[in-house]
Symmetry: C2
Subunit: 154 residues, 2 copies
């Protein structure tokens, strides 16, 4: 069958890459339009900290899949805007900078979540909700498998 040829363009890898790329562009345009004053990456970090209060920088880096250097830089921005705080503490007897979201950060995060919700829903509205859930679930399993295979030097 010609339709199932061995091609990058025919792989799930390709679909993932392209869809994610478009999603990223769309989100950037949305953030611009809605005058959201933090970047997508800062948003992801803020959301992750809100769910994992007291997390240290390196663990955050692993969750947002960025290296320590850039995670630090993202946190500089969030700290300057008073959306998170860095508190020196210990974890396993080691000095770490534990991260907490500030009241301003919570307010900002909720504001963004509400602002973008209707737009994001609109994007997936042509897909049946149960299909969205299903894809999300399968992707999640796929991602967890990938995390086992990929060696992350973070």
């Amino acid at each position: 069958m010609k339709c199932k040829e061995l091609h990058y363009t025919n792989s799930i890898h390709y679909e993932l890459e392209q869809t994610a790329k478009l999603m990223r562009i769309l989100t950037a345009q949305l953030f611009e339009k809605l005058e959201i004053r933090i970047s997508q990456d800062e948003y992801a970090a803020l959301d992750t900290i809100s769910i994992n209060p007291g997390i240290c920088q390196r663990d955050l880096a692993k969750l947002i899949i960025k290296d320590r250097a850039n995670t630090g830089r993202i946190l500089n921005c969030l700290e300057e805007k008073n959306l998170v705080t860095r508190v020196i503490d210990t974890k396993d007897n080691r000095l770490v900078k534990k991260l907490e979201i500030t009241p301003d950060g919570i307010k900002e995060l909720n504001s963004i979540n509400i602002k973008i919700k209707s737009y994001m829903d609109n994007v997936t509205k042509k897909i049946a909700p149960e299909e969205v859930d299903r894809v999300q679930e399968i992707l999640r399993g796929f991602r967890l498998d990938l995390e086992k295979v990929v060696e992350m030097n973070i």
Copy 2:
């Protein structure tokens, strides 16, 4: 229900971004390990040209979702390695550089496709094949919808 809170971390956007990011890292490591001498992006371009012979640079840029500048640079690399040719021609009475894959390019592309196949299959082997197809299909529909919404200035 607490499990369905309004969070980025709980969205399909997040799953897409994270999974694609991991996939990209894994592929980079695979290319390194298998001593593949072109980059992922060059591979994507080469594959796309092989499927769309005679395509011009801008149309290629739209397909691989890169701007014209970087698409040109990717093509410089592929041309230097004698994997593609640029032939000046016309499209709608306009001068364009039409792209063709060379015999060397075909050989290289096939070689890479075969080299990575078993590795890539291995990554998705824990997921039922029909589920992979299903996700690929839904992502494709999702991507096509996104393409309509996102304004691409390429």
